[in-house]
């Protein structure tokens, strides 16, 4: 009887909190790199600045369903940009056991999405000429 009650409490807690929110958390660390390295990069999402780093560098950020824009600048090179789209966090699959409330919570907390572990921004050498206007 106690075991059943405990199992019920665990299932309800997981459902209330969202499966991936509990098991994998709502943040993750990605590595921002550039080719060549040593570029100053800014990470933005929905127009909001997330971080500014010099490559290569790890960045811890909140997970979300929206893409991240990584813009890198380095002397002698043209600006480079990569958009990192989130992919599905497989840990959120556990919501099959706890129902759609868990799914909605994971979606709103961002835990059902994750970004790829490394984002590499390719940079093209600049051709000599007048400085570009931006």
């Amino acid at each position: 009887m106690r075991r059943r009650r405990l199992a019920c409490v665990i299932v309800l807690a997981a459902a209330a909190a969202g499966c991936a929110t509990v098991t994998t958390g709502t943040t993750q660390t990605i590595t921002v790199d550039s080719a060549p390295p040593g570029a100053d990069c800014t990470l933005t999402r929905s127009g909001m600045l997330l971080a500014t780093v010099t490559t290569p560098a790890p960045v811890t950020l909140k997970r979300d369903s929206k893409p991240i824009h990584v813009v890198c600048r380095k002397d002698g090179y043209e600006d480079g940009k990569v958009v990192a789209n989130p992919v599905y966090e497989s840990a959120a699959g556990g919501n099959i056991l706890v129902g759609s409330i868990g799914t909605a919570i994971d979606a709103s907390s961002g835990a059902s999405s994750r970004y790829l572990a490394t984002v590499t921004v390719p940079l093209t050498p600049a051709v000599a000429g007048p400085p570009p206007s931006r």
Partner: protein, 206 residues
């Protein structure tokens, strides 16, 4: 007899589920819907642009969206029946034409790099969101290959939807594309950079 009927019904139900919409790839055409008609710019007729477009998407280049089931799990791909890289080029080309620029070979090189063309479905309790984003960069080079203008453009669109379907992805992406291309049409610095080449030999029509 009863068991046999139940078994048949189970097989039929499984077959229906197996070809159900979530696991079958959806193919939709994506169109460009112009926001407004741009007015011709004085002097633009004297500048010829040579547009090219490349696919710089590092992720999700094989699709424009992904279906999701009720638990948010990614299912089948949603793909475009037309080339979205070419579509973005045609959309931008249309706006340059409307502004009066000449389009053809031998002009200023306008390179378009598509960085994102993707719609992400987000599950909510009773419905969902279609979150689309279109992002690209434009680099303008003169005859020597020197960069004279560079800018990134991106726009997103969010629609409240019931189904993670191709038609909903299409609607969100077309809205985002319209907004992103409008940013190009409204970019006064880009227009100035293009018109300023009138003084240079490489900016003139051949």
């Amino acid at each position: 007899m009863m068991r046999g009927m139940l078994r048949t019904m189970a097989v039929l139900a499984a077959s229906v589920l197996a070809v159900g919409c979530a696991i079958t790839e959806d193919k939709v055409p994506i169109d460009y819907v112009p926001a407004t008609e741009a007015a011709p710019l004085p002097g633009a007729a004297g500048v010829t642009l040579t547009l090219s477009a490349t696919d710089a998407r590092q992720q999700r280049a094989d699709r424009i969206s992904t279906k999701r089931n009720g638990y948010g799990m990614e299912m089948a791909r949603i793909v475009s029946t037309n080339d979205v890289v070419a579509l973005v080029k045609v959309a931008i080309e249309r706006e340059f034409r409307a502004e009066g620029f000449g389009i053809g070979p031998g002009g200023l090189a306008v390179g378009i790099e598509l960085q994102n063309f993707y719609n992400n479905f987000k599950n909510k309790i009773m419905s969902g969101d279609a979150e689309a984003e279109v992002a690209f960069g434009i680099k303008v080079r003169d005859a020597t290959g020197a960069l004279i203008y560079s800018q990134f453009y991106s726009a997103s669109a969010v629609l409240d939807v019931q189904l993670a379907s191709g038609s909903n992805a299409k609607a969100a992406l077309e809205k985002a594309l319209t907004a992103a291309v409008k940013q190009v049409a409204d970019d006064k610095a880009l227009q100035q950079a293009l018109l300023s080449t009138l003084a240079r030999p490489s900016g003139r029509s051949s």
